[in-house]
């Protein structure tokens, strides 16, 4: 289907059966100006099922009972859509009646169901959906920012704590070097200590989070109708935790390692005890 095609449509098989049309066949649709437009079927899709559909904002009609996804529909060109709806905007719903005679009944049913004129409903529903998507993106960005800030805060706290511990132990690492430990052996001792500390903290924190975090919680306000969201402790969380642990270890250890590398052992050993 090309943009300059005229009154043509691509339908899914279920819709084609419902309309009783085949490839090359035609069916009429009533435009908003009351005139009929005949659409010619130029393609039939085996099955129509949108993967990962957007969250439903209203109960839209579907040929497949109980389905939450879009399972049926008619695709027309933007030009045909504008002609049918009489407005130069994108319209995301096209209700097809079996015959032109049944259109008033269909419109009545839609009006009764949604208390709106179909064209107005579609337009308002679309902009409402756009607003919700925007709000959702905003909320998600806010949550992400708060999460990232919390992670940075926790990370800097951990790095600072670890830095203090390493600084307290700086004379001890210098002492190991003075006793004949190679620099690499002394560094490994420090890394092993840091990994054990960070690892134990991460495991303890994870256990506390798993035990005490609510299994289900609803997002407040706007997204409440999305239903409950279950916190997941998956590979991504583990990877983030591991990354944070490595960063904390590197940041906490770096000043002590640099000082030990730059200064003589005698200078470090002669430091006042902290």
């Amino acid at each position: 289907m090309r943009s300059d095609d005229g009154a043509v449509a691509v339908v899914d098989q279920a819709t084609a059966q419902a309309l009783g049309v085949d490839l090359g066949g035609t069916f009429p649709v009533r435009k908003t100006d009351g005139q009929d437009l005949t659409l010619r079927v130029v393609g039939i899709l085996d099955r129509l099922e949108l993967r990962y559909p957007p969250p439903r904002t209203v109960d839209a009609p579907a040929l497949r009972p109980g389905s939450s996804a879009v399972t049926s529909g008619v695709f027309v060109t933007l030009r045909a859509s504008e002609e049918i709806f009489g407005r130069p905007t994108l319209t995301d719903a096209l209700v097809v009646a079996r015959t032109p005679d049944t259109v008033p009944a269909v419109v009545d049913r839609l009006r009764e169901a949604f208390r709106l004129e179909p064209g107005v409903f579609v337009s308002e529903s679309y902009s409402r959906f756009r607003r919700r998507v925007h709000d959702f993106a905003l909320t998600l960005a806010l949550f992400t920012a708060v999460g990232a800030a919390t992670a940075v805060l926790a990370g800097s706290f951990g790095a600072n704590l670890l830095h203090d511990v390493y600084a307290d132990r700086r004379r001890q690492y210098a002492m190991l070097l003075a006793l004949g430990f190679r620099p690499m052996q002394s560094a490994l001792t420090g890394i092993a200590f840091g990994l054990a500390t960070v690892g134990a903290s991460a495991v303890l924190g994870s256990v506390v989070a798993i035990v005490f975090a609510p299994k289900h919680f609803a997002m407040p306000s706007l997204m409440a109708e999305l239903g409950t969201i279950e916190p997941k402790f998956d590979a991504l969380v583990v990877a983030v935790l591991a990354g944070m642990g490595v960063a904390i270890l590197a940041l906490g250890m770096a000043p002590t390692a640099l000082q030990l590398a730059r200064r003589s052992i005698a200078a470090t050993l002669s430091e006042e005890r902290g």
Partner: protein, 229 residues
């Protein structure tokens, strides 16, 4: 183990003024000698000991330990030199507080992955602390901690023992015990021992005495009695 120092100079930068810790110090210590380093505070004794242990680097000069110039060693090679040749006793003991006395004594054996707890325990018994081997430093007196540090310095059987005021924080009785231990290490085990001290009473067992003043070696005395006077 012989030690030869030639024109050793070391300067520290403290603030705007450089402080000369050692200036053109030359000396020689023979195998199996017990040498005392004496002099007032700030005369450069600890600096000289640190340079011999390769814990610091001089600005100029060289220090040859059995022919090896220890002033130009990389950090890793210097660690190997200390591991194989040197036992260091610090004035402030520098025991690791997390470890027991026995574990502290075993520590110098770990770089070569040959810990020998039996030998370490024997040394602790030699210094009179066999029954305190499982105590941590915080549970030991100053004299006991210093004796643990001496056992730690001896555990690898180093040919060179460097002691920085080992009796500085000890009472007379503990000081005598510590000096006896170091003297035994020198006389009975043939080790070269350098001891920094302010205690003139210690001069008696020494073979020679080096006196440092303001970074310069002012006197090398081979007759301890005359210096004691």
């Amino acid at each position: 183990m012989t030690i030869v120092g030639r024109s050793v100079t070391k300067t520290y930068q403290r603030g705007p003024q450089p402080i000369v810790a050692l200036q053109n110090v030359s000396f020689e210590v023979s195998q199996g000698e017990l040498v005392l380093l004496v002099g007032p505070s700030g005369s450069g004794k600890t600096t000289l000991l640190n340079l011999i242990a390769a814990l610091d680097w001089p600005d100029r000069g060289e220090i040859l330990v059995d022919g090896l110039d220890v002033t130009g060693l990389s950090r890793s090679t210097a660690a190997g030199y200390r591991d194989e040749c040197v036992g260091i006793i610090f004035q402030s003991y520098n025991l690791l507080p997390q470890l027991t006395a026995l574990e502290n004594v075993l520590l110098p054996m770990l770089p070569r992955r040959r810990p020998n707890p039996r030998h370490a325990l024997e040394l602790l018994e030699t210094v009179g602390l066999g029954d305190r081997s499982n105590h941590r430093p915080s549970e030991l007196s100053g004299g006991e901690q210093q004796r643990v540090a001496i056992a730690r310095a001896l555990v690898n059987e180093p040919a060179l023992i460097l002691a920085d005021e080992p009796t500085g924080n000890l009472d007379d009785e503990n000081a005598r015990k510590v000096i006896a231990l170091l003297s035994d290490a020198c006389r009975q085990r043939g080790k070269t021992v350098l001891i920094i001290t302010h205690d003139r009473e210690l001069i008696r067992p020494a073979d020679r005495i080096f006196e440092l003043r303001m970074g310069a070696l002012t006197r090398t005395e081979s007759d301890p009695v005359s210096l004691a006077r």
